[in-house]
């Protein structure tokens, strides 16, 4: 018993030592913007003093399968890469990734959860169904959730709700974001709400809560709303 513990301890210690030697951590931070304002939902909803009386109550999405590329070739792929990014939770907004291959020119990630993971039963961590990103009446993750109000919505209380998801053809909503990056250490990814909302007609598209054609179209618009700030 003592021997086993000693061997295990030795292995554990070595791993720590090796990791400390090659520590080249890359950070990816997510920032949410509407025009020039930062959308921070930590304490309360975001209210833009614009003509649409836009209000944002919830904004969260899954980022998965993070890759670093050089000349469109994948150099590094994060293992078990599932992250729930939430505008109301500061801790969720910065990811740290250990990567030895520092020379890359592009970052990619999936906006949402892939189909294999979607049919693999109950999972923990950011994938735990208690995170409010899992449909109950029909199996599957909500890839992207945006909720708020706008005078342009002819709905009760002017609310809009976009719960985009679906892993089965023809309504597979999983899309990949590709972003050119010249910063090898600290990457800042912006989700531009102005760009996303200006591509949506809120008077007709305001309630999407199941996998369908609209969800696929909006998922495509969502991936185009990500930008990277290069120094």
């Amino acid at each position: 018993m003592k021997k086993i513990a000693f061997i295990l301890f030795f292995v554990f210690d070595t791993v720590l030592f090796v990791e400390a030697q090659n520590d080249s951590t890359i950070s990816i931070s997510f920032v949410f913007r509407y025009n020039d304002k930062i959308v921070d939902l930590s304490d309360s909803s975001f209210i833009a003093n614009d003509s649409n009386h836009l209000q944002i109550d919830a904004l969260r999405f899954y980022v998965s399968n993070i890759c670093f590329l050089k000349n469109s070739t994948v150099l590094f792929q994060e293992k078990n890469s599932f992250h729930l990014i939430d505008a109301s939770n500061k801790n969720s907004q910065t990811l740290f990734i250990k990567n030895n291959k520092a020379s890359f020119d592009e970052v990619s990630f999936n906006l949402g959860i892939d189909s294999v993971t979607s049919v693999s039963g109950a999972m923990g961590g950011d994938l735990d169904p208690t995170k409010g990103m899992y449909w109950t009446w029909q199996s599957g993750y909500i890839n992207f959730k945006l909720e708020g109000k706008s005078v342009n919505c002819p709905t009760r209380n002017n609310t809009f709700e976009f719960h985009l998801g679906g892993y089965l053809s023809p309504f597979n909503c999983l899309k990949t974001v590709f972003l050119k990056s010249t910063n090898p250490k600290n990457i800042v990814v912006v989700f531009d709400l102005n760009q996303f909302l200006s591509s949506v007609d809120l008077s007709t598209q305001n309630q999407i809560m199941s996998p369908n054609k609209q969800a696929v179209l909006l998922s495509e618009k969502a991936i185009k709303s990500f930008k990277i700030i290069n120094p």
């Binding site: 086993i4 693999s120 039963g121 994938l127 899992y134 009446w137």
Partner: protein
């Protein structure tokens, strides 16, 4: 630091050795197909099964702490809700469909009459959240369980962690449900050559194989497919079944082929419980089938059975009753866990 690490590894070693000792092998009856459930991701364990059993009978899974899974899935009626065409849930609200019987779940990939659920682990999320059934949400369930005295202990025994998560709650429920294997009916004894059918049962068996067996395939008595069986649509429900999930017109009016095991006790029948008796079901298949665009190939040529033949088939169907399953004490209300002394 070193002492802590050694202690940590000692703990891990002891814990996993302990878990290994409680590990329960997956039971697959002879001549049955391989289960579709991936047990390697949720290996059966006595403590986890026991926790799942407690959760299955736990009314705190509902908003008003009154409705449990067992409310609509009672053991003595093959884990379904009898007497009601449409099952009722919280505050006697009436649901949209007849609750399915629970058994042999390791052999099913898709759940619900329309296949809306893709894995046994996530099945329980649907009734928990449905406003007509339990009207609760899983994160609140986890909070409620964490605040009890006994559940953190049970989760610790099952998973080595007293912090309750949605994942562990669902996996424990799966483990209990996976043990609900019905394989000891008279039919099974006949197949094992331990007994024989009566002449009438045998006649029914032959007729069944010829007329019903292509969808209600042995030994599970379902092919797990979705079929339109020619029921006229109930305009008070307008339930299009599988179409509502796939949005594919070919799936209109298709519902899951249910297993016929323990059918004697799982009345009423069909997705909306429209038939009270097995004789009504057989009358439907012989004279009631309405043709529609998605009608199952197997039903396009009418099934011809006279009154005597229908009676024989019913006699055979009664041999699918498994009393050792319906009255198995391992599946019943876990009194020991809910006794006042052990609870709070």
């Amino acid at each position: 630091m070193k002492i802590k690490a050694v202690l940590f590894f000692c703990f891990c070693f002891v814990f996993f050795a302990f878990q290994l000792a409680n590990e329960k092998p997956v039971f697959v009856p002879k001549n049955w197909p391989k289960p579709v459930y991936n047990f390697s991701k949720n290996p059966l364990n006595e403590n986890t099964i026991e926790l799942g059993r407690a959760l299955f009978y736990e009314p705190q899974l509902s908003r008003n702490n009154i409705v449990s899974c067992a409310s609509c899935h009672s053991q003595y009626t093959a884990f379904t809700h009898v007497d009601h065409a449409l099952s009722h849930g919280i505050e006697d609200k009436i649901g949209r469909r007849n609750s399915p019987a629970l058994m042999n779940l390791a052999w099913q990939q898709l759940f619900m009459w329309d296949g809306a659920v893709n894995h046994l682990d996530v099945q329980a999320l649907a009734p928990i959240a449905n406003p007509l059934e339990m009207d609760e949400n899983i994160s609140n369930v986890v909070k409620k369980l964490q605040h009890t005295k006994h559940y953190p202990k049970l989760f610790y025994k099952a998973f080595g962690d007293s912090i309750i998560t949605g994942e562990h709650t669902l996996k424990a429920l799966s483990q209990f449900m996976l043990t609900l294997v019905s394989h000891n009916s008279k039919y099974d004894s006949v197949m094992r050559k331990e007994t024989v059918f009566t002449a009438q049962e045998n006649s029914g068996y032959l007729l069944f194989k010829k007329n019903c067996g292509s969808c209600h395939t042995e030994p599970l008595f379902t092919n797990n497919e979705f079929k339109s069986n020619g029921l006229p649509i109930d305009t008070t429900l307008n339930d299009y079944g599988r179409y509502e999930i796939t949005k594919n017109k070919k799936d209109s009016l298709k519902f899951k082929v249910p297993s016929l095991r323990n059918i004697e006790f799982s009345y009423p029948y069909m997705h909306d419980g429209r038939f009270k008796k097995l004789s009504d079901v057989l009358k439907h298949y012989t004279t009631g089938v309405m043709h529609n665009q998605s009608l199952s190939e197997e039903l396009k040529t009418p099934i011809v059975l006279n009154a005597n033949e229908r009676v024989d088939i019913v006699a055979f169907l009664l041999t699918l009753t498994d009393r050792s399953f319906l009255f198995n004490p391992n599946f019943s209300y876990p009194k020991n866990l809910f006794l006042d002394s052990t609870k709070d």
